[in-house]
């Protein structure tokens, strides 16, 4: 019986969805779009080829619209349209004659679906059309796009284009592309010349081409030259690989330092085991989210505003925690631990109830997206780069506050000898509150940075609390330099181990290392010296 059910089902599923053909008014385009409308992706791909072959003036525009998913058709009249925002509504504008059909709801038009293979196909077709574009930058990127699928036929095409090409940058790119294509030239001499001319390149396509020649070429001389060139390229790539690992390590380290540096104040200087530290970070991240909600179209500005705002929010919560709970528990570390753990649970549940148990979206401004392409094997992502710089700035700022301001002097005085500081007229209770607020505020700033890297959700803090304590204890309690060096060092160690040990084992190994290290040097990397260390 089941089999019958399954078969009938099968028939239901296969029943085609009826859709009327798109009307453009141009017969060739109609034929192409009829294929693109088909449910079968092979037919669709043929339609794209037909569309590219049609010499309609808007072909490029149509191809781009199709690739970016902007091209829709109205179910009413089957015309191809762009959906444009007009005073809060979406208006349908005819792609071919620019006629405005008025506003429509989301169910009255359909998108022309494409898949990855078709996106690649359209890119290649567009690149070919763009090789003769009047704008040299467009031509340059078109040559770049064609490098990926280099064919022997390209050599001649580029040679032909080079006869008329004037722009030096485009010429250079075209020459490189032509050499690359000549790697598969039937003449061994031409192949050897091509090897010599691509030997400086780090492009993966070049390496793959050379690997192919080094392993399979019928000509011995070509094989040897390809192998030598490949060896040189691989050596250079390996060097950049080490640089990349170093950057990854510094970047992971800077995140650790940012998360831990607030704790270096509250735990390191004041000696409070603050289990709610992670939640103060989380509050900073949520502040970023709320500011983005308030300023929806100004992502860049909202991030900059979020830094002071997060400092104030987390700092204020920190002061409230200190005044409300911790000040009654000084000198009772176990009870402080339990009380702050309770606070951390309360803050988490508060966020869950008030905002949402779901993660919230925080978008990245443009200057924090993408990467700085140094060459084709080394690129540094901007968000990590900025966060590294940001971490150093926060560290410098905090260092300045502690060493060069009146508050810093009082903080150090109270932490070294509370009774003596009080005798000198320092209001120790006020200093305690401000110090805790400072540490908490820095945690909030860390939250802004983390919101750019990871999920913003109620559990954000939990992920960082253990790491933070690890860094502070490893670096040496009460020493800011220790936190900086410790955090960056742990980050690099982690990333050095990750490639051969895997992410899970690398983390375990780092933890084991710290435990052994603490056995040997219980006061961490940079122990506090003098009488304060005894307290």
């Amino acid at each position: 019986m089941l089999r019958i059910v399954v078969t009938t089902l099968l028939l239901c599923l296969m029943a085609p969805l009826m859709a009327a053909d798109i009307q453009t008014g141009v017969p060739e385009l109609d034929a192409a779009f009829a294929q693109i409308q088909d449910r079968n992706f092979d037919t669709k791909a043929e339609g794209v080829t037909a569309l590219a072959a049609s010499d309609h003036p808007q072909t490029s525009e149509l191809l781009r619209g199709l690739r970016d998913g902007d091209l829709r058709y109205l179910k009413d009249n089957n015309r191809l349209v762009w959906m444009r925002d007009q005073a809060g509504d979406t208006a349908a504008i005819d792609v071919l004659n620019g006629e405005n059909y008025g506003t429509f709801g989301s169910r009255s038009f359909k998108k022309l679906a494409i898949n990855n293979a078709m996106r690649g196909q359209i890119d290649a077709l567009l690149a070919q059309r763009q090789l003769t574009d009047p704008d040299p930058t467009v031509r340059l990127s078109a040559v770049g796009a064609m490098l990926g699928n280099s064919e022997p036929a390209h050599a001649e095409m580029f040679a032909r284009l080079l006869q008329t090409e004037k722009d030096p940058a485009v010429r250079e790119a075209m020459q490189a592309a032509a050499s690359l294509a000549r790697l598969s030239d039937p003449d061994p001499q031409a192949r050897r010349r091509a090897i010599a001319s691509v030997a400086e390149s780090l492009e993966p396509v070049v390496r793959n081409g050379l690997t192919r020649l080094a392993n399979n070429d019928p000509d011995d001389a070509v094989r040897a030259e390809a192998a030598a060139a490949l060896q040189k390229i691989n050596d250079r790539a390996a060097l950049y690989g080490h640089l990349e690992t170093l950057f990854f390590g510094l970047s992971l380290g800077s995140v650790l330092v940012l998360a831990a540096i607030g704790l270096a104040i509250t735990f390191g200087v004041m000696g409070v085991i603050n289990m709610a530290h992670g939640e103060l970070i989380m509050l900073g991240a949520y502040t970023t989210y709320l500011i983005q909600l308030a300023l929806p179209d100004m992502t860049g500005l909202s991030i900059l505003l979020a830094v002071p705002a997060a400092f104030l929010v987390s700092g204020a919560v920190g002061v409230a925690i200190e005044r409300g709970v911790i000040r009654f528990l000084y000198g009772r570390p176990l009870e402080t631990l339990l009380a702050t753990f309770g606070i951390s649970l309360m803050l988490q549940q508060l966020v869950r109830t008030v905002i949402s148990p779901q993660n919230v979206p925080v978008s990245n401004p443009d200057f924090l997206s993408g990467s700085w392409q140094i060459n084709s094997v080394l690129s540094l992502t901007y968000n990590r780069l900025y966060i590294f710089v940001f971490c150093l700035l926060v560290f410098a700022g905090l260092f300045f506050v502690l060493k060069r301001t009146r508050l810093g002097l009082q903080v150090r005085a109270v932490s070294q000898n509370r009774a003596m500081a009080r005798a000198m007229g320092v209001r120790s209770a006020r200093v305690d509150a401000l110090t805790f607020g400072l540490g908490s505020g820095i945690a909030g700033i860390a939250g802004v940075a983390l919101s750019q890297l990871t999920n913003v959700g109620p559990n954000l803090g939990q992920a960082y609390i253990v790491d933070s304590f690890m860094v502070v204890v490893f670096g040496g309690v009460g020493n800011l330099w220790g936190t900086l060096v410790g955090g960056l060092g742990l980050g690099i160690a982690n990333k050095l181990m990750e490639p051969w040990a895997g992410a899970v084992l690398a983390k375990i190994l780092v933890l084991v290392f710290i435990i052994l290290f603490i056995q040997k040097r219980p006061r961490g990397l940079f122990p506090q010296k003098g009488r304060a260390a005894e307290g």
């Binding site: 099968l10 599923l13 192919r212 901007y382």
Partner: protein, 430 residues
């Protein structure tokens, strides 16, 4: 009845039931209780809260249609708080104290493994709505989510059609990704993929620093063969993973990622523009065209009072599972677990993609497999669909020690792990 009233009534019922056993006994006479065992706090709340709401909606709708066997249904909601041992305690409370007729719940495999002995000991029914690693078939559990052959294998087949030759199997380090990747590795090798063309990588829960792994994937994928990532990365860790892919300039055209744990709900928390073209394999997408799906989306958004809320695959699994249970209870004329369990096998109900899903003798169901590409609006564009329905396979055909096993809970076999070679039922229940 408004939602607020509903909640009040529910919480009243729950508190009355827990506080006064007598009250619950009298109530049980005129209602049929249905247990909902989903975490409403802790790490899993993010996914499971939605399923709790789905169950409340389904029960409310069934009551509007006149209930079941002439009685009204009553949801008993408990919160196991993402704490695996607590799942077992709460399951026991639902069955022993609340005397529920069936339980709908669990998300992670470890929570299912934790409640399994309780359901077998007390002989009650559990409907499990999430895709999982397979290698299990219990008399008391009905698996309405996908088994690996209903999600992972068709996804890999699709990518092979697209010309993928090198494979990165990336997952979070726990039982579901490890088992799924073991099955996939065996499957790929069986298809002639060399060991050097498979890279396997595991990361801890909530991993957020993806720099080196993404860089490794990039290097692995630049060897001139088309490369794809098969991702069993769990929920949270996906956002930083995809962000890092975008930042390092890897697009779906270069190296597509097909994910088994990323659905509409997960995408609603992120900006999906950089993800366009990455893939997911499920048995249901919100973008499926059809009247049943439109009606389901409409009633869901009305119930939750938010027209931005999305629907996803595990919700569909509960929709199917609940309707199957309703049909089986009608067929059996009682809520007795033994009778309902027997009646469930062979029951077929509409799924949301326009067909009928049937409960098979191995307690898994038949489903279509859909492959979708992520769009910039957080929805999926379906790019491939299995021609028919795929029958869930409890024991993978690609693993040693499991390929000879079958599950068939019909008499006279009545066994969850029958070895066809030795003709023996190992006697173990799961």
């Amino acid at each position: 009845m408004s939602f607020a009233n509903k909640v009040r009534r529910l919480s009243l019922a729950v508190s009355a039931a827990t506080a006064l056993g007598v009250a619950s006994a009298t109530q049980a006479a005129d209602t049929i209780k249905v247990g909902v065992l989903h975490s409403l706090s802790g790490t899993m709340a993010i996914s499971e809260t939605t399923l709790k709401d789905t169950m409340l909606m389904l029960i409310e709708e069934q009551n509007k249609k006149g209930g079941l066997l002439g009685k009204q249904l009553e949801a008993v909601v408990v919160d196991p708080a993402s704490n695996w041992p607590l799942f077992a305690e709460k399951a026991r409370e639902l069955i022993e104290k609340e005397k529920v007729a069936a339980v709908f719940g669990c998300w992670t495999s470890v929570s299912r493994k934790s409640v399994l002995p309780v359901f077998e000991e007390l002989n009650s029914l559990l409907f499990y709505p999430v895709q999982y690693e397979g290698e299990e078939s219990s008399k008391n559990v009905f698996y309405t989510g996908a088994a690996p052959n209903q999600q992972a294998i068709p996804a890999v087949d699709y990518l092979m059609e697209q010309g993928v030759k090198r494979w990165v199997l990336a997952g979070t380090d726990y039982v579901y990704p490890r088992t799924t990747n073991k099955i996939l590795e065996a499957y790929l090798k069986g298809k002639g993929v060399a060991a050097a063309d498979i890279m396997i990588n595991y990361t801890p829960f909530g991993h957020s620093d993806w720099q080196s792994i993404v860089s490794d994937i990039k290097k692995f994928g630049s060897a001139g063969k088309k490369t794809a990532v098969v991702s069993t990365i769990n929920g949270d860790a996906n956002v930083p993973f995809y962000k890092e892919l975008g930042n390092q300039g890897i697009s779906a055209q270069d190296i597509p990622v097909v994910a088994f744990s990323v659905g509409e709900e997960e995408l609603s928390g992120i900006d999906t523009k950089p993800l366009v073209g990455h893939l997911a394999a499920w048995n249901y997408f919100m973008s499926v065209e059809g009247d049943t799906n439109d009606a389901f989306i409409e009633s869901w958004q009305k119930f939750i009072k938010n027209d931005k809320r999305v629907t996803n695959d595990p919700m569909e699994a509960h929709y199917i599972g609940f309707n199957m249970w309703v049909e089986a209870v009608k067929k059996a004329g009682t809520t007795d677990p033994n009778a309902v369990g027997d009646a469930l096998i062979g029951v077929a109900v509409p799924n949301l993609s326009g067909g009928l899903s049937a409960m098979m003798p191995n307690h898994h169901i038949t489903k279509p497999v859909l492959i979708g590409e992520i769009q910039d609006d957080g929805q999926f564009q379906i790019v491939s669909q299995t021609p028919g329905l795929v029958v869930g396979d409890a024991w993978s055909d690609y693993l040693e020690g499991s390929k000879d096993l079958i599950a068939d809970w019909r008499a006279p076999l009545s066994c969850g792990n029958y070895n066809v070679k030795t003709a023996k039922c190992s006697g173990q229940n799961y």
